[in-house]
């Protein structure tokens, strides 16, 4: 019995979601309480496990038994350090976001029960990914987080942009998921099992090309979920959802699921499975995403979009680290990033609410005076993000840069450049929004956020500062036997200090002390291109969707209309409905006809059975 305690990680949020949806859809307070309680309970359970509670291996439930054992679908849970420490990030940030939501959604007219049910179903799905002991279960969780993300991005579904963004996120993810599914099936074929525990050591006897194909297909899933180039387009749009959702799903946890999955596979399959080609592709995709997103972020005016692109760029770092076979560094950065990026998003949420739902930084200004505590927390997050020595982000970024320098210096220099850009755009954001004087009415009336918002911010701010230090990181970074390696003053340290200084100085020179009322860099072709997200979205819309896809769609439409719909479906529907009509004719209600037909049928029966041998 006790060994099945970890199943509560899945059952509690699922139960909360079901109750919210079914019973308490009209009383949002109860719904919110239930969701918060389930998040708190899972967090407590997780802390208990990290503190040494050991209940042995949970039972494996055979969901769909198939005669051939390896094809059966099993549901099993892993409680190793990688899973449990990841759960701490998920449930910890999850709980804080739940609490923050109370304040953020106060006065919102939409159905809050639906919102909290969405959060709980997300917690369920995310736990499913983290705890899964096989790829099939990972995939179930994978699709479920996609679904809950769809629900939450589109929470304000009456807004066309939110509904579109939800659709875009879902469909873009589907593209990646196709690859992921193929990858899972390839894994089943190549490794003979979907179970992580059974994959170890099997990579040695498998042809490199096959391994590369398998790993890259699985990587497709991560490209979609972790919003890597070229499928990154959905994440900035996903900011249409409520800000706490952006913090939880689109910054701290779900988007990191791709990285988590890759690291999980890297451990299960062994580094041998990640061939050089596969690694090169993964690292390059990560580096390209990091660089592109950081560039675009420099010219965004919406506070949440700046943070969204910054998330993309940081995810790029992590994926790059995975490609460099430095899973440890990737998970370290995932872990610190989760805390400080959640902090930044929640801080942004507090700012947005206090400025009466204004998201344009050029319409803020002077907020440091009006909401000092919130801004201070936000600055802590910024310091961690731009990797000021002593803050958590610094340690994890150093770890990645070290790994890059060791494996492939090109990626090191890309990383350093991205670090400079990061410093630039975050300093720009802070200068414009918090310094100077208010540029719009909303910002003039801003005031400190309420307690339910401030408390999570403070906790997260503390984590953003201290989570990188060895004493706490060693215990909490989701990686078995993680050790924060003492950092030595060397080339990487000087380079990152240099890029930090470069970014800071450049931003200060351009934006001064926030006195300007418009962006001095705007107005030229480069800025326009960056503002238009380098025309990637437009390229997808016009060329891929409007052009290529439209042509294919026309051809398929023809096949569909003429052959499938016309001949097969409508033809067979016509035939069957004729048959149905004929049957109804027989079923005319006349008793005599009924007895006659029954007798006839009986005769056939008797002839078949008794007169036929």
């Amino acid at each position: 019995m006790m060994q099945n305690l970890p199943w509560l990680f899945l059952l509690l949020p699922l139960l909360a979601a079901a109750l919210d949806w079914v019973l308490f859809s009209k009383c949002s307070k109860t719904a919110a309480t239930l969701s918060i309680l389930s998040a708190a309970a899972t967090l407590a359970l997780c802390v208990a496990y990290l503190a040494g509670l050991n209940t042995g291996a949970p039972d494996v439930y055979t969901w769909m038994p198939v005669a051939e054992e390896r094809l059966s679908l099993h549901l099993g849970l892993l409680t190793d350090p990688l899973a449990m420490r990841m759960m701490l990030v998920v449930t910890g940030i999850g709980l804080l976001v739940h609490i923050f939501s109370l304040g953020y959604m106060k006065g919102d007219t939409s159905n809050l029960s639906r919102y909290f049910a969405g959060l709980s179903i997300f917690m369920f799905s995310m736990s499913c990914i983290v705890l899964a002991d096989n790829l099939a279960m990972t995939f179930i969780g994978w699709e479920m987080v996609g679904f809950s993300s769809y629900l939450l991005i589109g929470h304000w579904y009456h807004k066309a942009s939110a509904a579109d963004a939800a659709k875009k996120a879902f469909i873009t993810n589907r593209v990646g998921d196709f690859g992921f599914l193929i990858g899972i099936l390839l894994t089943l074929g190549v490794f003979g099992s979907m179970n992580f525990a059974d994959m170890a050591g099997k990579a040695a006897g498998i042809p490199a090309a096959l391994l590369t194909a398998t790993v890259l297909c699985l990587f497709c899933g991560a490209v979609g979920k972790s919003a890597q180039f070229p499928l990154h387009v959905w994440l900035p749009d996903a900011m249409e959802g409520p800000t706490p959702v952006s913090a939880l799903i689109h910054a701290a946890t779900m988007v990191a699921a791709g990285v988590y999955m890759l690291v999980r596979l890297q451990i299960a399959m062994g580094h041998a499975a990640f061939t050089d080609t596969a690694c090169a592709v993964i690292a390059s995709v990560g580096a390209i995403t990091a660089a592109l997103a950081a560039l675009i972020a420099t010219q965004q005016d919406d506070i949440k979009r700046v943070l969204a692109y910054s998330t993309l760029s940081q995810l790029g770092y992590m994926v790059m680290a995975v490609g460099l076979l430095a899973g440890e560094a990737a998970m370290f950065h995932l872990y610190t990033h989760a805390w400080f990026k959640a902090l930044l998003f929640l801080g942004a949420g507090a700012v947005i609410v206090c400025c009466h739902h204004e998201q344009n930084i050029w319409k803020m200004g002077g907020l440091a005076k009006r909401m000092p505590l919130t801004v201070l927390c936000f600055l802590m997050g910024t310091c961690a993000l731009i990797a000021i020595p002593g803050f958590s982000g610094f340690f994890s970024k150093e770890a990645i840069l070290d790994a890059a320098l060791e494996h492939c210096p090109v990626f090191f220099w890309v990383g350093a450049g991205v670090a400079a850009l990061t410093t630039f755009y975050m300093t720009r954001l802070c200068l414009v929004a918090f310094c100077g004087s208010a540029r719009a009415h909303g910002a003039e009336q801003a005031h400190e956020a309420g307690a339910s918002m401030l408390l999570p911010l403070l906790i997260l701010a503390v984590m953003a500062i201290i989570s990188g230090y060895g004493f706490i990181a060693d215990a909490l970074v989701p990686y078995a036997g993680f050790e924060a390696h003492g950092f030595a003053v060397g080339l990487p340290f000087y380079v990152s200090l240099g890029s930090l200084g470069l970014g800071l100085v450049a931003a200060l020179l351009v934006y001064g002390c926030g006195k300007r009322s418009s962006d001095p860099l705007a107005g030229n072709a480069l800025s326009a291109a960056l503002r238009e997200r380098l025309y990637i979205d437009e390229f997808y819309d016009k060329v891929l969707i409007g052009g290529v896809q439209a042509i294919i769609a026309h051809i398929i439409e023809f096949i569909d209309a003429a052959i499938i719909r016309g001949l097969c479906v409508q033809g067979s529907a016509w035939l069957t409905s004729r048959f149905g009509l004929l049957l109804s004719k027989l079923q005319g209600g006349s008793l005599r006809a009924y007895t006659f037909l029954s007798g006839l049928g009986l005769l056939v029966l008797i002839i078949l059975l008794a007169f036929n041998f």
């Binding site: 055979t62 769909m64 048959f579 007895t595 029966l605 059975l609 008794a610 041998f613």
Partner: protein, 490 residues
């Protein structure tokens, strides 16, 4: 002489086996007496006691269980209880259609007769010879005749009652005729392995005529069972009677009575099982007959449903179609057949009961049983609509509902038996076509609920508490067992 006869029937029944039957009969008798001598007592109390009695018996059977046939008893008891509850949930209609107005007079039997029928079903499950089988089956049938025509002020109900009576009498006649042939060719009423073996090997007379006569006897007996389960060619009564009979009675007929039919079929084929192996001529005939019946039942039930607009009639065809999927288990019977049948019947019972409850609710408040009357429920009663969707989805066989697992089993059984009986391959496309057709006609109701806008005069339906609870429990059961199928231990 007396001893001789008792040998012909069976000597190994014990009183103990019939305890649940007696309990229900005694309860029914008590309730009838109460109804007669305490006319002032509200009939609702009778209904509640009757329903609780059924549920209690079901609980006893679950605890006592072991044999797969007992599972059928549990389903039958549960379904009877639910039909009784449905009847008193819509007491007003019952009163209005029986005595007119709000007068409760003469409605007492409507709540107690299902108990008698249920007792008959429980007795039937214990039968291992044709006499007891026939008598207990008649107990079920006779009470059903009365129930189907109970709403004497409602023309549809009267018509249904008469049609059911006449066609039912025919099937009873076939059953008796079959029993006579059975006795004539084997010299025994016992449904046992020995009897079948003696007959098939030619018996003492060692002639083909004996085997032929024995097979004919079985054809007639099967036909009697086919009437109850609604298999072709004895299915013709179903759409008319389900549509005309009072909705609680339709529910009873569709679930409990059908369960009884499958129990009869299971009892009849049990002695056959060892003989259904390739190479035996009789086995080939048996498989052919059941394959033909299953195919015809599938086609007629599912394709006939396509053009229906009346929800109750649609469920009638659906019950024929679902019986077709269950009959697939019987083509090559094995030790697993009773369990599979019970599992499928459970899925069918939960979903069908839920839909009948929904129909009763819509019928009383919107005044129509047409599918169109479900219009806009998705808007006006989103939660109830969702529960109905679950039930319909399960009937259609959508994954993550119990109906999917049940249908999957049906396909798996067919595919497995194809390795021995290659010709059964023909059945596969028929099953696929019929499963697809199911999606079309069950989703017609879903389409009406979500795609048709409610009319201005449509107010949200008032969901009576019993209906709400039953719908929720059925939907939860379907989803939970559908996602965790191993709970059932198939």
């Amino acid at each position: 002489m007396e001893e001789h006869i008792s040998n012909l029937v069976s000597a190994d029944y014990t009183w103990c086996q019939f305890c649940p039957t007696f309990a229900l009969v005694i309860l029914a008798a008590l309730l009838l007496l109460t109804d007669a001598f305490l006319p002032k007592l509200p009939k609702r109390s009778l209904a509640i006691v009757a329903a609780l009695g059924c549920l209690g018996t079901a609980g006893y059977l679950i605890a006592d269980s072991g044999a797969p046939l007992t599972l059928l008893g549990v389903i039958a008891c549960g379904a009877t209880a639910l039909s009784i509850m449905l009847a008193f949930d819509y007491k007003k209609i019952t009163c209005d259609s029986v005595a007119g107005g709000d007068c409760e007079e003469g409605t007492g039997e409507f709540y107690t007769l299902p108990l008698v029928a249920c007792a008959g079903i429980l007795c039937l499950l214990q039968a291992r010879d044709l006499i007891l089988l026939f008598v207990s089956l008649e107990v079920v049938t006779l009470s059903s005749y009365v129930l189907a025509g109970y709403f004497r002020r409602n023309q549809g109900s009267v018509e249904a009652g008469i049609k059911y009576l006449i066609l039912g009498a025919m099937s009873t006649g076939l059953l008796v005729f079959g029993a006579a042939w059975y006795f004539g060719t084997t010299g025994s009423f016992l449904l046992s392995f020995d009897t079948v073996q003696r007959a098939i090997s030619g018996g003492t007379a060692a002639s083909n005529a004996v085997v032929g006569g024995f097979l004919m006897a079985n054809a007639l007996l099967f036909a009697g069972a086919f009437f109850k389960v609604g298999a072709v060619p004895m299915h013709l009564w179903i759409p008319d009677v389900y549509q005309g009979a009072p909705t609680p009675v339709s529910t009873f007929l569709a679930v409990a009575s059908k369960t009884a039919g499958f129990a009869v079929l299971l009892i009849l084929i049990a002695p056959w099982m060892p003989f259904i192996i390739p190479g035996i001529t009789v086995a080939r005939l048996f498989v052919t007959v059941f394959a033909v019946v299953a195919a015809a039942t599938l086609l007629i039930g599912n394709l006939g449903a396509l053009t229906q607009n009346n929800a109750k009639r649609l469920l009638g065809y659906s019950s024929i179609g679902q019986a077709g999927f269950i009959l697939v288990f019987f083509i090559t019977p094995s030790a697993a057949t009773p369990v599979m049948t019970a599992g499928y019947l459970l899925a069918y019972a939960l979903a069908t009961t839920a839909v009948f409850y929904a129909i009763a609710m819509v019928r009383t408040q919107r005044g129509s049983e047409e599918i169109a009357a479900f219009r806009g429920l998705g808007k006006t009663n989103p939660r109830t609509a969702f529960l109905i969707v679950v039930a319909l989805a399960s009937l259609a066989g959508v994954p993550l509902t119990l109906g999917f697992i049940a249908k999957l089993n049906s396909f798996v059984v067919l595919v497995n038996s194809m390795s021995l009986w290659g010709n059964l391959l023909i059945l596969l496309p028929i099953m696929i076509l019929c499963a697809a057709a199911g999606f079309y006609y069950y989703f017609k109701i879903i389409r009406a609920m979500y795609w048709d806008a409610p009319r201005p005069e449509d107010s949200p339906l008032q969901v009576p508490p019993t209906t709400g609870i039953v719908l929720s429990l059925c939907a939860i059961g379907l989803i939970v067992l559908g996602t965790l199928p191993l709970l059932l231990n198939w």
